[in-house]
Amino acid sequence: MRSLACLALAIAGLSLAGLGADAQEEVPPPKVSWSFAGPFGTFDRAAAQRGFQIYEEVCSRCHSMNLLHYGDLGPDGPGGGIGYSEAQVKAFASTKQVTDGPNDAGEMFQRPGRPSDKFVAPFPNEKAARAALNGALPPDQSLIIKARPDGPDYVYGILTGYKDPPPPGVKITEGRYYNEYFPGHQIAMPPPLAGNDVTYADGTKATLDQEAKDIVTFLTWASEPTMEVRKYTGVKVIVFLVFMTGLLFGAKRKIWADVH
């Protein structure tokens, strides 16, 4: 019976090497009150922009965001971006070097980025990432919030949940770090944020807590840029449906009045 989880493996002939032991008692991540939570929640644009700054200056050294384009940040992006103007997006994209081609001579070449370009990834492929990072592969961040249960709280927990030294009695493998909220508690990512990792353009004080909240706001936007449109549309649809259902209820009562 228990064989079923292994069954897939056995037949596909794959190894479980990377999976490790079962997660020891998992700690639920801390509950944070988010600007985007609830049926009327929207993205705090200033926080999302600060979060984008952290992604640019810290996270993007290892983590890709392959589903995003520079233009998504501006008014033409899905859901209207995170408050940057078209000119800002254009200027920002042009600071990146993008590989394009082949040209008429059959060669690939570098050119400044355009809003229609994807976010440039830190590594050309998975092997390059693993070679540079001690065998670990940093997951793409485009959907990380949706790909984890309680995504925003979980990512906030990971970013603030490092403990050094680890609690007594816990043995940490070489090249791993103790993290309160990571399943199994041993994470390959060194503590990415410590506070004062960036100098915020808007003058906000860059505490660890502030940084973690900002990057989570940006990542949540990135995982579903159309969230606000979805919620606005929902209000209109449900108000209409309640009105229509009320009318139908009246019609039903009237039509059925003469039965019995």
Partner: protein, 424 residues
């Protein structure tokens, strides 16, 4: 059945050559329906509407989707981000699958409770079971299409079930895959079949309706209509009642689509499929959990290995429904007048919920014990139905639908045990 006196000349001209108007008049207006149907009878038409919603949203998604292992995941995200209202179509389709199953499961249990599977509606019921099987196949293959982690590993586990078949099992699995593992050929054929099967369902729904209209709906009292005083025309009475029910249903559905779109899905499916990394826990969508629990908790039975026994139990749990009209020999349809079966039928629902709960957990410790007990009880239930059909003493039935309805006034149904009442 005579052609209605159509006022419009054009309508009359068409109807004389192609009697669509007569057909509509016959099947909607003249079609007699018991006057005492409760709101539980709304779920048949709701299921039909859900099927249409799924087909329409699915056709729009297929216009933007790419069935290739390298592009499928990204094409779904492109729908979410760059296609106008793509997020809406996808969330409707994704949550629509869950709501389709909710509606159909309620429809099925309604039939079980009120004995809608009994003569003369055996084929109507069996066609319904065929629809359920087709829905399950369609839903399973649809879940593979976004090519996330759960898509891939779910497909791997479920297709591997066929390897439990002795001797030819492995050849069958490779034939299903189109290769030596779940891969691009598998994704391609699943997409093709996922597009085809809904239209097969439409055809079987047509037969289901034909069988329904032959003898008309069953009703909460489970007794036959005795004359015109017991029935009302389907239109406008039940069209308006179904529309009102649809309104309530769409409000609940919209709350999920717009505010809780990912609540019923597994977060891991937002990670692209990775054949080299098995997720810690492989679970199907919630509507398959009871069957998954049966699959995982069945032990070795005599010379049958556990895996094969689990597969047999899982398929048998559906196929046994085909025989229900002959398992239950009671002449009384509605559980209202069956003092013991009334409670037993609720036990089955509880049992299915327990199985669903167990199915979401790793088969270890108590989950195995509870899973086995619940699986055993599921099949024992049908034995109980057979016994009850022989020994249970039903309560006296009302003489007619009209009598039961009018005596209480306001369309309320007579409670169980109400004595036969004289006609007004």
């Amino acid at each position: 059945m005579a052609a209605p006196a159509q006022q419009n000349k054009v309508v009359r001209w068409i109807d004389h050559r192609l009697p669509v108007f007569t057909f509509m008049q016959h099947e909607l207006h003249d079609y007699p329906t018991p006057k005492n149907l409760s709101y539980w009878w709304n779920f048949g038409s709701l299921a039909g509407i859900m099927l249409v919603i799924m087909i329409v949203s699915g056709i729009f998604l297929a216009m933007q989707y790419t069935p290739h292992v390298d592009y499928a995941f990204d094409s779904v995200e492109r729908i979410m981000r760059d296609v106008n209202y793509g997020w809406l179509m996808r969330y409707i389709h994704m949550n629509g699958a869950s709501f389709f199953f909710i509606v159909v499961y309620i429809h099925l249990f309604r039939g079980l409770y009120y004995g809608s599977y009994k003569a003369p509606r055996e084929l109507l019921w069996m066609l319904g079971v065929v629809i359920l099987l087709l829905m399950m196949a369609t839903a399973f293959m649809g879940y593979v299409l976004p090519w996330g982690q759960m898509s891939f590993w779910g497909a791997t586990v479920i297709t591997n079930l066929f390897s439990a078949i002795p001797v030819i099992g492995h050849s069958i699995v490779e034939w299903l895959w189109g290769g030596f593992a779940v891969g691009n050929p598998t994704l391609n054929r699943f997409f093709s079949l996922h597009y085809l099967l809904p239209f097969v369902i439409v055809a079987v729904v047509g037969l289901h309706l034909m069988a329904l209209h032959q003898h008309g709906s069953n009703n909460p009292l489970g007794i036959d209509r005795k004359g015109p005083q017991d029935s009302i025309p389907f239109h406008p009475y039940y069209t308006v009642k179904d529309m009102f029910g649809l309104g309530v249903f769409l409000i609940i559905f919209s709350i999920f689509v717009f505010y809780l779109p990912n609540l019923l899905g597994d977060p891991l499916n937002y990670e692209p499929a990775n054949p080299l990394q098995t997720p810690p826990e492989i679970v199907p969508e919630w509507y398959f959990l009871p069957f998954y629990a049966m699959l995982r908790s069945t032990p070795n039975i005599l010379f049958i290995p556990a895996k094969l026994a689990g597969v047999i139990a899982m398929f048998a749990s559906i196929f046994i429904l085909f025989f229900l009209p002959w398992i239950d020999g009671s002449k009384v349809r509605s559980a209202r007048f069956r003092p013991i079966y009334k409670w037993v039928s609720w036990l089955l629902i509880i049992d299915c919920l327990v199985l669903g709960y167990v199915g979401a957990h790793r088969p270890e410790g108590w989950y195995v014990v509870v899973g086995r007990a619940a699986t055993f009880y599921y099949f024992f239930h049908f034995f109980l139905m057979w016994v009850l059909g022989k020994v249970e003493r039903p309560l006296p039935l009302p003489t007619s639908i009209s009598a039961a309805v009018t005596a209480k006034g306001g369309g309320r149904m007579a409670p169980a045990g109400s004595r036969p009442m004289e006609k007004p």
